[in-house]
Amino acid sequence: MDPFLTSRIVSDILGGLTNGVTYGMVALSLVLIWRSTGILNFAQGAMPMFATYVGFGLLSYHWGYWPCVVVCVVAGLLLGGLTERLLVRGLYGKPEINPIVVMVGFLIVLEAIAASIWSSTPRSLPSPFSSVDWHLAGKPLSLSPFTVYEISTALVVMIAVAALFRFTKLGLQLRASALAPEVSRLLGVRVGRLLTLGWMLATVVGVITTILVAGGGFFSGLTPQVMDGIFAYGFIAAAIGGLESPVGAIVAGVVLGIVNQFVDDFVNQNAVIIIALVLLIVALMIRPSGVFTKIAHRRV
């Protein structure tokens, strides 16, 4: 076959794409919450991690992979909704640092509780697909059934979220209550419920990301800190793309994943996050509002 497909550059792009979609999904979930509630959810990695532990705890009762995934998603819905109702509700309209501090506190508590219940030794998740790379003419292709599953699931999630916002009445209400909560309330939209729904949605996107991340061969299993690094990359992607733009978040995430893979391959592993940080600094310097957003002027 064509040696081009197994060349170093193509395999970097494919490997980067696999990581990039996970960054893109985290960035997407951050943007969803940021747009609807003006809060950057620092527990956006920890909440899905917790739900994933809950779901895959059923493995010890000999449940299969797919039932566990369903339980994870349900746990994510519950956790997201409860968090918004009990913890976040009182923080709207408070100074900027209050929600940041509370969500960081929530992150610590969730990670500590997870570690105290399930211990912090990595727990390997079963995988429905093999994560052994396919071979072309005796050379590895850097693409396995699992990575295809990962990328296609991410695509499905992204398209589903986009379709929800663009084509459904619910999506219209979600957009309206994020843009003009007062007006929407007057027009009969239950803004409070929609905010809860937004958090549930974002948590589910996070749960799916966590399952993909922890299930793959790239990161070794599920740990309480599994999402810390991914969250950092997800934030960087969201900030580069512009916190206001879901499309920007996804594109920036994918690009960041590919860039990271190249840096990892051609420089070294330690340089990956440094380059990502430099990219963030440069992006904020050149275009502070994000690469993919229209510049909005602030009225006084």
């Binding site: 620092f42 640092i97 900030a239």
Partner: protein, 400 residues
């Protein structure tokens, strides 16, 4: 403030007199005679004299603050002579930590922003200190500390310049990314930073001869390096607090508070928003670096695992619990940090938990995280704010 002072002058003077008398009494009965103790008493009495002058507070605020600082240092150092070596070590880490907390408190109190990466900025200070001491062993400690502070400020400038100009949680996110990245940054320069094992200081820091000479010959207490290092940490913390107290009330401090409360008004009176915000962030990272450099000095080593993201989170918890935006909150946070490990092991032993168990090892995170949420939801200004509010309520109730 002036009127408060006039009214409370007499009780404060009495309290100070009691402190001075206590110091004299203890130094009279102690077996360690020497010039040092009479110095301690003299300093206390001099500060007391300066502080009881009612008009002095308003006419010379800086001198008053200096006198207060000196008095605090005097008492704190005096106390260290009577503590065990492990208690002194805890106190030293607490003093170093309170410097870091002070920087973060200033950043939030003055500009309304927050940093989640002060643990990494501590790491910058700690490793600059260790690297410099390994290459130039003869440099005086003060100079090395200053070099660490300058490096911390430079890194702060690099990260703060893009992020502080923006509204929204950009600074918090970027500092979080920096905190996560810091260990990898150290790894990239492993030929300098010693890789995973970190760096040791080449020589143990001991008291200079002239300082030893102040004490009773032969059994000079300063030859124990823990005590000497504790006193260094306390003095540095005192100096840092003195500068910060002045900065809070200076022109730029007032500008920062105006920005926090109403940035539009601040811009209208001609304050440059981005510049002031960047300055606040640089001050906070420089203070963090100073605290980190002291950590290296106290531990005689710098290890990369200390400066993980968890440390940044601990710093945030401490200052929020102590009282963010206040100076006293930093002191409270420092004290909590100094004795938190003792308290947690006490809780473990009282509740009969298995100390090696999963729950006991995570107790630190559960307690700090929980307190962080509860404090922010119910008492956003922490212990310092709660005490201040109680005090105000008591004052209002009292007639006259």
């Amino acid at each position: 403030m002036t009127r408060t002072w006039t009214r409370q002058r007499v009780p404060i003077a009495i309290a100070l007199a009691i402190v001075a008398t206590a110091i004299s009494l203890v130094s009279a009965t102690t077996t360690r005679d020497g010039v040092a103790f009479s110095v301690a008493v003299d300093v206390a009495i001099a500060c007391l004299a300066a502080l009881t002058q009612a008009s002095f507070k308003t006419s010379h605020p800086v001198v008053t603050r200096a006198a207060l600082t000196l008095l605090g240092l005097d008492v704190a150092i005096f106390i260290t002579f009577f503590l065990s070596s492990s208690a002194n070590f805890n106190l030293a880490t607490g003093a170093a930590m309170s410097i870091v907390l002070l920087g973060l408190s200033f950043l939030t109190g003055a500009s309304g922003q927050i940093s989640l990466g002060n643990g990494a900025f501590m790491g910058v200070g700690a490793f600059v200190m260790a690297i410099w001491a390994n290459h130039h062993a003869t440099t005086p400690i003060v100079v090395t500390l200053l070099i660490a502070v300058v490096c911390g400020a430079l890194v702060g400038l690099l990260l703060g310049l893009p992020a502080t100009r923006l509204r929204g949680p950009y600074l918090a996110g970027m500092t979080l990314a920096f905190a996560v990245a810091f260990i990898f940054i150290l790894g990239s320069f492993s030929s300098w930073t010693g890789g995973d094992s970190g760096l040791q200081l080449p020589t143990e820091v001991t008291a200079p001869r002239w300082l030893d000479g102040l004490f009773h010959a032969g059994t000079s207490p300063l030859t124990t390096s823990t005590l000497y290092l504790t006193d260094i940490a306390i003095v540095v913390a005192g100096v840092a607090f003195f500068f910060m107290a002045n900065l809070f009330t200076s022109r730029i401090g007032r500008a920062m508070r105006l920005i926090r409360d109403n940035d539009v008004a601040a811009e209208l009176v001609g304050i440059s928003l981005p510049r002031t915000r960047v300055i606040a962030f640089i001050v906070s990272s420089a203070y963090a670096a100073l605290g980190g450099a002291l950590f290296t000095l106290i531990n005689n080593a710098a290890s990369p695992s200390t400066y993980s993201f968890a440390l940044s989170v601990t710093i945030l918890s401490l200052i929020v619990i102590g009282g963010i935006g206040t100076i006293s909150g930093a002191v409270i946070g420092g004290i909590i940090y100094a004795f938190s490990t003792n308290v947690i092991s006490w809780i473990t032993s009282q509740t009969g938990l298995n100390p090696q168990g999963n729950f006991a090892s995570q107790l630190n995170g559960i307690l700090f995280g929980g307190l962080l949420i509860v404090t922010m939801l119910f008492a956003p200004f922490g212990i310092a704010g709660a005490v201040r509010m109680l005090w105000r309520r008591v004052r209002l109730r009292r007639p006259g």
